[in-house]
Amino acid sequence: MSLNLLLVEDDAVFAQAMAEELRGLDHCVTIAVDGREALAAVDSAPFDAVVLDRMLPRIDGMTVLERLRGSNMTLPVIMLTALGRSVEKVEGLEAGADDYVVKPVAAAELSARLAAVVRGRGWTGGSADTIRAGDIVVSPTKFRAWRDGIALDLGKLEFKLLAEFVANADAVLTRAMLVERVWGYDFAPTTNIVDVYVRHLRVKLTAAGGEDPIVTVRGVGYMLRG
């Protein structure tokens, strides 16, 4: 997914390096160095999403976010910050951020999260009882899943993992994103929980034959082919 991004970051070295990396991942990046510049940029050009540093000179990130939300801008915003305490995350999310990432963050992780929040905006949801990706069908309301018409026998966490993959088919999900969304934890486990569960899920998905639909993206995470 190629996105038109606004990166609001006062640290020039970090901003340049991150911008170059994001461009390497096929995104178009504009840099704003403070809050005032950020608000002006958002007014003058359409962006798909904003990466917003919390601590900024002149107008700080929280104020920028409040002004964006105050003027009915539904533009997806990911807060990027050195402050990593839970209360600060909650503050950021309550102020209207779509995601909250603690510095430093790999460009691939940031890119995956940006894709997820932009996709999340386009998703209508609700209308269909099932979600589908290729030959995999998941019914979140019935807690059932099928591949190629054959019902899959999944544990609770395996089911949640598959549902997350199907809902985000063809997009990379990082391990941190999966821990947050499937396990509901705000910390990084030191063991390979995600890898173990993905391996179990793969075994169950391919038990009745068929190709492995989950792709490992080295150093980043996993992706389900749709």
Partner: protein, 445 residues
């Protein structure tokens, strides 16, 4: 120590006060009686002297005359007089006696059945010629004087005692309440609620001054804590920013790398910076948990349910590494706490057990609830930790492998300890013989 409690001191004071009051009552009573007796004695001596006359003037006729005169006179009309001969025969006077009184002064009571007299004093003297003169006077200014005096004592001293006891009770209750307010504030602050203050009563006085001084001290402490917290936020920002730069610079270099060897080196460098960041994140997490802010988000939860959930989640991870994870829970175990943090503590404990034991080890997680406490245990039958090194294991960066080549940053148990303390519990490492047993005890209240 027990005798120094406020209540014991008050009781001791009241006892002393009562004894003093009763003693005073008896002393007043005794002195009053003595004084009255002395006055009455002096009076009957004067009357008796006058009637007896001088030694040469004691003819019976003269004595009779003087008795009659005394009985008629207003000043001496209330005095009882009796003249008897050597054989005890009554010769004259206005009273009769039921017994013979000894010579000299004596006390008369109601038993002596003298008409109109309940208590008095008598003086018996020889007036010559074998005759004996008895002079009697009342020691009571009015009838039932004793009963009236008792009433006066009861009402007078009784009201004093009531006022003092009432005052003491009021005093004790007031002081107790003020001390209680201070204690509750202190307890709330020990539990991490730095916003609590001692209420200041508008009436002012010593307690209000004390409370104000105490509150000023608390304000100062929270200012200091806030500035420490600001410093740590600044450190977080100041250190994470250059680390973020370093990491993105390395990532950029990796993208531009031309040879496989360069890529390997850069990936290793990125992994090292990630390790550094993980250690940093763990330190900030410990600081956050120790700050106690998360206690505001405490909610009722079923610990057995959480153990089952975490256990189920970790079983495949344990199995994947060749270890077995057993879960032992009974019925629901209700506690109040932070589900996220308790879950993290359990995950970290199981991860520790997996990391520090050989393949084939059995790991167990369980909950035991008694009336007094809820205990969460994670046990393994691996090599364990020698008793003298268990304390080191709980210390920050206290890693047992001196070469420090194993995985982890040595902050795992310190974080778990902080989480347990946030829940007002205790963490201990025990010998599972063989293996290690980590015990988390949460008070029930």
């Amino acid at each position: 120590m027990r005798f120094r409690s406020l209540r014991a001191l008050t009781l001791a004071f009241l006892l002393a006060f009562l004894l003093a009051t009763i003693g005073t009552g008896f002393a007043i009573h005794g002195i009053t009686l003595q004084t009255i007796e002395r006055l009455v004695d002096r009076r009957i001596l004067v009357v008796s002297d006058a009637i007896a006359g001088a030694p040469g003037d004691r003819r019976p006729a003269d004595v009779f005359r003087r008795i009659d005169a005394a009985m008629r006179e207003r000043d001496t009309g209330d005095i009882g007089l009796l003249l008897v001969d050597a054989n005890g025969n009554r010769l004259g006077g206005n009273i009769a006696l039921s017994r013979r009184l000894p010579l000299g002064f004596s006390t008369i009571a109601r038993d002596d059945r003298i008409a109109g007299l309940s208590a008095g004093r008598a003086l018996v003297r020889d007036v010559g010629g074998g005759m004996t003169l008895t002079t009697v006077a009342e020691t009571e200014p009015f009838d039932d004087y004793n009963a009236a005096r008792t009433r006066i004592y009861l009402i007078g001293f009784g009201s004093i005692v009531l006022i003092v006891v009432g005052g003491m009770v009021f005093f004790v209750v007031t002081i107790g309440r003020r001390i209680g307010e201070t204690r509750r504030t202190v307890e709330a602050i020990i539990d991490g609620d730095m916003t609590r203050r001692v209420p200041i009563h508008p009436s002012g006085g010593e307690f209000a001054h004390q409370a104000m001084a105490f509150n000023r001290m608390l304000d100062r402490i929270s200012d200091l804590m806030a500035s420490i917290s600001n410093v740590s936020n600044d450190i977080a920002h100041d250190l994470r920013t250059p680390l973020a730069r370093l990491r993105s610079q390395l990532a950029l270099a990796l993208r531009r790398a031309e040879t496989e060897a360069q890529r390997d080196d850069l990936e290793a460098a990125i992994a090292m910076s990630d390790e550094l960041l993980a250690m940093f994140a763990a330190m900030l997490r410990i600081a956050e948990v120790e700050g106690g802010d998360r206690r505001a988000a405490f909610a009722a939860l079923d610990l057995a349910d959480l153990v089952r959930e975490v256990g189920d989640m970790m079983q495949p991870v344990a199995a994947d590494s060749g270890r077995q994870l057993d879960i032992a829970v009974d019925g629901p175990t209700r506690i109040v706490g932070d589900r996220q943090l308790l879950g993290q503590a359990m995950v970290n404990l199981i991860e520790n057990a997996i990391r520090h034991t050989p393949a084939g080890t059995r790991i167990g997680i369980g909950v035991l609830a008694t009336d007094a406490a809820t205990t969460l245990t994670v046990t393994d039958n691996g090599p364990g930790i020698p008793a003298d090194r268990r304390k080191l294991a709980l210390r920050r960066f206290g890693r047992l492998d001196p070469s420090r080549h194993d995985a982890g940053h040595g902050l795992g148990l310190a974080l778990i300890d902080a989480i347990v303390r946030l829940h007002r519990g205790t963490l201990s490492l025990e010998d599972a013989d063989p293996g290690l047993r980590v015990v988390i005890t949460l008070r029930r209240d």
